[in-house]
């Protein structure tokens, strides 16, 4: 077991950058303010979200208690947390098990596949605590304090919270390693990752629709019935996901039944983990190693493909300007790396697509949609509808992780950017064009939806489109600013560059603030009595100035940072 624990220690160390942090705190004290600023932002951001979440939970607890079923809060939290972990965990697992760079070191070591797999699993599980703890601790605290629970409740609460990711993650991992065993080509793995990711997004949308669609207008009755009959509720969820019931009874019932359910939950968690290790030991390496063999170009006869390119001696290669070449490189790398494609590209167009699906589904049954359509066709309100649409477009344009992780994604290839004879300004300009192109795709999709479904007139569509593009300039710039200022260049798995990158969150937060500022400016213009045309023009000027200023800031930052960053 000793090698297993050493491997786990190393894996956790590199995953959370513990040694790097230690180094930072003990050796590079001058730069301490950078991580401090990041930690402060996280506390601030997470704190406000947690406060809102706790407020909502207190409401659920009070409602549950008033009808005599206070443990509703626990069931809902266990179901929600485990579902979230199942969904996102499957992606983490895919990245950590099959796209991680360190397998080149791990596979030749004298370790059993289950040891490697076990450490990977536990590392992912530790990552999941970042999701699980903020989701689980508030409800356990609210219920525990509200019901005046004793010492054993808190012990069980802590143990259950720690065990929570195990079942969904084991289920997700079993699914992933079984699937990967039968798809044995690297290229297919890329394709699979994209198809899987897209399916995941569709699943998320479907759940959204289901949640919105099921009660059909009598949500209050539905919830009341559900809450009023405790057994009804437990049966309902229990049939679909029994572990949440075991955990809830295990935690809320201090008697023998509680202990039995508690032990059942822990036992199933451990058994599933053990089964996963057993199966993984049999099939994991086969799936991992399949298709890694490389075919070198055979010497002697020249391949047809190469002959086509080099055959005509008089023909020249197409030469591009450096900025265009950098843009094309950025585009290709984003589109060809599944995890970047899903998060950086698909993420940007999926928002508008959710709107389409919701619209199409709800249109069939709900009278709300008809009312909304009548409301937005009202001539006196059309200005607000247009501006609201613009707000949505700017929101979509601001959620741009391609821009907010632009430098981080270079990782160990950053030396090429430092080496090439292209100025930092031009390099960042190419990255800006790339981020802007991604935002533009989102804008085009959203505007198209508005034109088709809201049937907004063409002139207004054009106004929204142009204003959207003008606004996107500053949004893309603020997204990029954080990443150029403090890129995360050291990572072993591309997932770390885009999904576990604080700059993506900071970029989104900054975009939201900027969109709020544009909204405030719009309200001010309307309150000052500006006509519709004047409002649009005023907004164009404000967003144009913001764009120019932020682009200038980005360029100044780029020239300073590229010089000081070392590769």
């Amino acid at each position: 077991m000793k090698p297993f624990f050493s491997l786990l220690k190393i894996s956790l160390d590199s995953n959370f950058g513990i040694s790097a942090l230690k180094f930072r705190f003990t050796r590079e004290k001058k730069k301490l303010w950078e991580p401090m600023l990041i930690i402060f932002s996280i506390i601030l951001g997470l704190g406000s979200i947690l406060a809102l979440y706790s407020l909502l939970l207190t409401g659920v607890f009070a409602a549950g208690k008033s009808i005599g079923h206070p443990d509703v809060i626990l069931i809902l939290s266990f179901v929600f947390t485990q579902f979230i972990i199942l969904f996102f965990g499957a992606f983490y697992v895919m990245g950590a098990f099959y796209f991680s760079k360190d397998f080149g070191i791990l596979v030749p070591l004298p370790l059993k596949p289950y040891e490697v797999l076990g450490t990977k699993f536990l590392t992912v599980m530790c990552n999941e605590y970042i999701t699980a703890l903020p989701l689980m601790l508030p409800p356990i605290l609210i219920y525990g304090i509200g019901m005046g629970q004793g010492f054993l409740y808190w012990v069980k609460g802590i143990l259950l919270t720690l065990a929570v990711p195990s079942i969904p993650l084991a289920v997700g991992s079993l699914f992933v390693i079984t699937l990967m065993r039968f798809v044995n080509l690297r290229r297919s793995k890329d394709l699979l990752a994209i198809v899987g990711g897209t399916l995941g997004l569709i699943l998320a949308v479907s759940i959204n629709i289901l949640v919105q669609g099921l009660p059909k207008g009598n949500e209050a009755d539905f919830l009341k019935n559900l809450l009023q009959s405790r057994t009804g509720l437990i049966d309902e969820i229990g049939r679909k996901f029994p572990p949440a019931i075991w955990a809830t009874i295990g935690l809320s019932d201090p008697g023998a039944s509680g202990w039995l359910n508690f032990l059942l939950f822990i036992a199933v968690s451990v058994l599933l983990f053990a089964f996963f290790l057993w199966l993984g030991n049999l099939i994991f390496y086969k799936g991992l190693l399949a298709g890694q063999e490389t075919s070198s170009g055979k010497a002697g006869r020249i391949s047809r493909k190469a002959a086509e390119i080099f055959g005509d001696e008089t023909a020249a290669m197409t030469a591009n300007s450096p900025v265009k070449a950098l843009f094309i490189k950025e585009w290709r790398l984003l589109m060809r790396t599944p995890i970047y494609f899903l998060n950086g590209f698909m993420g940007n167009i999926i928002g508008p697509i959710i709107v389409i699906i919701l619209f199409v589904v709800q249109r069939q049954s709900s009278s709300d949609t008809v009312q909304i359509l009548q409301f937005i066709k009202d001539p006196s309100l059309i200005k607000y509808v247009t501006l609201g649409g613009l707000g949505f477009i700017l929101f979509v344009a601001g959620m741009n992780t391609a821009a907010s992780t632009t430098l981080s994604r270079e990782g160990s290839t950053f030396w090429i950017s430092k080496l090439i004879p292209v100025s930092a300004e031009n390099q960042v300009l190419a990255k800006f064009f790339h981020g802007f192109a991604i935002s533009s795709v989102g804008i085009v999709v959203t505007v198209a939806i508005m034109a088709i479904f809201i049937k907004l007139e063409m002139l207004r569509v054009a106004v929204v489109f142009v204003l959207g593009l003008v606004g996107a300039v500053s949004l893309v710039c603020v997204n990029m600013l954080f990443d150029v200022f403090h890129p995360k260049l050291i990572w072993t798995n591309p997932q770390e560059a885009i999904k576990q990158n604080m700059n993506a969150l900071l970029g989104m937060a900054a975009s939201l603030i900027l969109v709020a500022f544009f909204a405030a400016a719009t309200v001010a213009l309307i309150l000052l009595g500006a006509s519709e045309l004047l409002t649009y023009c005023g907004l164009a000027v404000i967003m144009g100035v913001a764009g120019a200023v932020s682009l200038k800031c980005l360029m100044i930052m780029a020239s300073r940072k590229y010089r000081s960053l070392e590769a």
Partner: protein
């Protein structure tokens, strides 16, 4: 210690390193300590030293990947700190580890470099064709770099570094990972490049290569240049002494 200015080219230096130092961990680890080095036209310079002596740090400062704490480095008269773009155009660099854009094909990678170094279309194709042929990579060029072996990646980086025909080559352990044939070709190519009045600066652990190929050799130890000169000068008259013995004696402590 040899006089580093004992050379015939005077001020025609292609690489000029003057008083360069670099330390890590707030000065506690001195990676390179007051390094002075000049490389002239037509010269193949071998840079030797034990692991961790400061070879890669020196090379990374020469090509602009690391910023020196003090001192100046110029390539063909262009200061790497003051005129980085012009200095970078004069050099071709191969790192010790071929980390390249794995999701580009070999051709796309080379074309990207051709674009950023402003290599005209026709010339680019001819050079690409010649270099790919030379290193037997033409058939693999349309494939993703991700599918290449370590040696193939090393070759594509090498081809990329030479595509714009720089006069100064700076190579960090270029033979590592190359098959004997490619390694031989590279050595011949280095010689013919320098015969045209250009220069090559490379680090290596293979003393035999340094012995046979280099016009001058520098040995760095604990960040300091402890010896520099032709093989004859390093031998200090003892003609039979091998470079290996000289190296071992000099880097004993």
């Amino acid at each position: 210690m040899f006089d580093i200015n004992e050379t015939w080219w005077g001020d025609q230096r292609l690489i000029n390193i003057a008083g360069v130092s670099k330390s890590y961990n707030k000065g506690s680890v001195k990676a390179v300590d007051n390094l002075n080095l000049h490389i002239g036209p037509g010269e193949i310079f071998g840079f030797l030293g034990p692991n961790g002596a400061g070879k890669t740090t020196t090379i990374k400062m020469m090509v602009g990947l690391l910023n020196p704490d003090c001192g100046r480095i110029s390539i063909k008269g262009f200061d790497i700190a003051e005129n980085p773009l012009e200095a970078k155009r004069q050099l071709g660099y191969v790192p010790d580890n071929p980390d390249v854009y794995e999701r580009l094909t070999g051709l796309e990678y080379l074309n990207f470099l051709g674009d950023v170094y402003n290599v005209p279309g026709k010339l680019r194709k001819d050079r690409m064709s010649e270099l790919l042929d030379m290193f037997e990579l033409k058939n693999a060029a349309p494939d993703l770099i991700k599918s290449y072996s370590h040696g193939m990646k090393q070759k594509i980086v090498l081809i990329g570094a030479l595509l714009h025909d720089p006069s100064v080559w700076i190579l960090d352990e270029p033979m590592v990972g190359l098959d004997p044939r490619s390694s031989h070709l590279l050595k011949e190519y280095m010689r013919s490049h320098c015969d045209k009045g250009n220069s090559v600066f490379f680090s290596t652990h293979i003393l035999e290569v340094a012995e046979k190929l280099c016009d001058r050799i520098g040995i760095i130890h604990h960040g300091k240049l402890i010896a520099i000169g032709t093989l004859e000068q390093l031998r200090q008259g003892e003609a039979a002494e091998s470079l290996e013995n000289i190296f071992l004696e000099l880097t004993e402590k």
